[in-house]
Symmetry: C2
């Protein structure tokens, strides 16, 4: 591991260029690798991670000690700390990825032209994926495995606080790749902790990175979105809404709102704002808000909500544009589904929104009128997750409208091309 | 029409921001517009273009006179000049777009989860498309029509030499939109000819442009790709290859190579390099090159090709990385399909490549080993076109690997989202 003292900007550039070139070369080999070989590599990677457990735990112990010395928070230390169970979960995750279908080579569409040309649209790997993450060492294995399954090489740049752990995990992954006859360069980790290395990745390493996936907090994602000169799969925020229509089943609404907000408050799919149809405010607000309060949720409500539910605190305008990621919810009344659409299109981060309604016309209006990655009817916003969608894991959730939107699973890590078969056709 | 003298950077920024906001507002209305209304607008636009023929011809006459005075080339003047037939072709193009299927609302995939959640992936409009083009006034109608069909608003920025013509066409399109009850802002044209306006578009107009499509020569596309902070659908070059395998049918090869190169030499799908399997060089080179030479093609060949075909000129290394867009072809020998793949992966612009072969194993290796947008077997590279693919028109061809690759038709101008229907499911 090189540290800041040993590198300068020029050498970081040279190191990163070399990583990019090696990733591109590896990606060409992966693109031709059959499913059996990729799956054998994933299983060998799982074995290698288990076999390397002592080395990984030792490296992680050093990272944790340094982080403790630096006075990091308990939550930070929890994310950073590995133990035997977490390492086994990582290797089981790799085996689960091996069991997923291989998207590469799938025919997405096929048709024939009047002149006899047979056209197919076929999935291909994207190429090289750059993953920039914070101090969660398990991302090393998750992201490495998902990218490999889709036939892509990956360049990992983990947080400097977890550098020793990530490096030990990556070494095991590279051993697994080589055991299956694939290049270790298919999963590389950036060996320098300079921020300049991230800058080089965001510039695309001279065309050798096809897409960047940031995994971490808002400031990381914001920097990546601001500076990246290559496509980015990301969401900056999950400012998710739940709208309770006048036609909603109240019992269902109480349960789904509580789950949307309180199951886990720190994930991007947790609800941040509750909108209630003004027509049923008198009957519906109290039971829904009581259930939230009972679970320990702080309620910040508009003045008219407080008039009906005085226990609530008063929301200011910033509350409706705040992703709390905490046990807090903002609450407002709206005039039916059109009012809900207007509020959501103003404040939403276009991640996930839910409607609770029995009136199909209201659901249809909500689905047509809101341009978010995931729209749900009568279900919790916490289902916004690749695993819950049946994608077998995700590298993140994207709110952009290009290529991958919503959960980014193995299939979203592919591109496609056209393959045309003729019998000597020339164009008139 | 404002010209450079009447605007400064600040006012350009304000004008462009206003255009962006109006486009976004129009896009929200278009997203909810049913197929019937969009198609009625396309037909009304066609009628309005025909009705405006005198005004369009007058405006075009002024553009052409100014371009003649400025000493522009004959080819430039030909692209710029409109006549009755070209205007009618424009309106017929709009009617043809009305007849295409509407991609918006199509269910791309649907599945059910074990917990009863029903998940659909549904096509949605992209939002606002920015089209930056050179002095081909017909792009105004083509691009406006294709974007509208997919439910998108469009901001058009045409070449300054065709500004009067494009403006007259856009006025007719806006009339057609309004006749069908849609906002005229759905198809706007930038009213200033400052280069700064292009710069503002490339920055994305404060989030109000979702994708940029450049239509024009290499320097325009290069500027857009270098400066754009939003996604771009484009190809910088079409450095297309034809490989003649030892197993090729020689008669077919002679015809397909000649068509790939010489049908039209100025389009992006025309072949620029011919690769011939060394095993059949003695028998195949002469008939293929004779046919090209007979059609007026200049041949620039490697030394070993010249040894077998002395009439050829000598290619230098730059020839194999040059997109001639002219009646010139570079020729080299390669060792079978693996040699062809190695050459193409080194020099290709990843646009379109063809293999001529009867050996299916060679075709399979070529299709798997080359990462270009379009791969053809026993067919001319000149089929690289949305119309020829049955897409009913294209706004361009993309060589990026994200979202749209190959011809960009109506379907590629859409995004998608997930719509999930439940019955009260909460996440455990």
């Amino acid at each position: 591991m090189l540290d800041r003292a040993e590198t300068d900007a020029g050498s970081v550039g040279a190191i990163m260029d070399d990583i990019g070139r090696r990733a591109r070369a590896a990606s060409r080999i992966l693109a031709l690798s059959p499913r059996e070989q990729k799956d054998a590599a994933l299983n060998a990677m799982a074995d290698a991670v288990n076999a390397a457990m002592p080395a990984i735990l030792e490296a992680n112990g050093e990272d944790v000690a340094a982080a403790q010395e630096a006075g990091m928070t308990a939550a930070f230390l929890d994310r950073l700390t590995l133990n035997a169970a977490r390492i086994i979960a990582m290797s089981e995750g790799l085996r689960a990825i091996a069991d997923l279908p291989d998207p590469v080579g799938d025919t997405i569409a096929a048709w024939e032209r009047p002149n006899g040309l047979k056209i197919e649209r076929v999935r291909t790997p994207l190429g090289v994926i750059g993953v920039i993450y914070e101090s969660r060492p398990n991302v090393t294995a998750d992201a490495g495995g998902l990218c490999l399954k889709a036939g892509n090489a990956v360049i990992l740049r983990g947080g400097s606080d977890s550098a020793r752990s990530s490096r030990a995990i990556q070494a095991a992954l590279a051993d697994g790749l080589k055991a299956a006859g694939l290049p270790g360069d298919a999963i590389q980790i950036v060996p320098v902790t300079d921020r300049a290395a991230v800058g080089e990745m965001l510039k695309g390493l001279a065309g050798n990175i096809d897409v960047i996936v940031p995994r971490g907090g808002k400031s990381l994602v914001a920097r990546v979105q601001d500076e990246a000169r290559v496509p980015v799969f990301a969401h900056l925020e999950g400012l998710c809404h739940v709208y309770v229509d006048a036609s909603a089943d109240l019992t269902m609404a109480v349960e789904v709102v509580a789950n949307s907000k309180m199951r886990r408050t720190g994930i991007c799919g947790s609800a941040e704002t509750l909108l209630v149809d003004r027509k049923v405010a008198a009957s519906h607000l109290a039971p829904i808000l009581d259930a939230l309060a009972e679970k320990g949720c702080e309620i910040r409500a508009s003045a008219e909500v407080r008039a009906l539910y005085p226990k609530a605190g008063l929301a200011d305008e910033t509350d409706f544009s705040t992703e709390y990621l905490d046990a807090i919810i903002s609450v407002a009344l709206v005039d039916g589904v059109e009012g809900a659409i207007a509020h959501i299109e103003t404040y939403s981060s276009h991640h996930t929104e839910a409607i609770l309604a029995e009136d199909e016309a209201a659901v249809a209006a909500f689905f047509a009128g809101i341009d978010s990655a995931i729209l749900l009817h009568n279900a919790s916003t916490q289902f916004a997750d690749g695993g819950e969608f049946g994608m077998g894991g995700e590298i993140g959730i994207a709110t952009g409208k290009m290529h991958a939107r919503g959960p980014v699973g193995v299939e979203q890590l592919t591109s496609f091309n056209y393959r045309v078969r003729g019998s000597g056709q020339t164009r008139p």
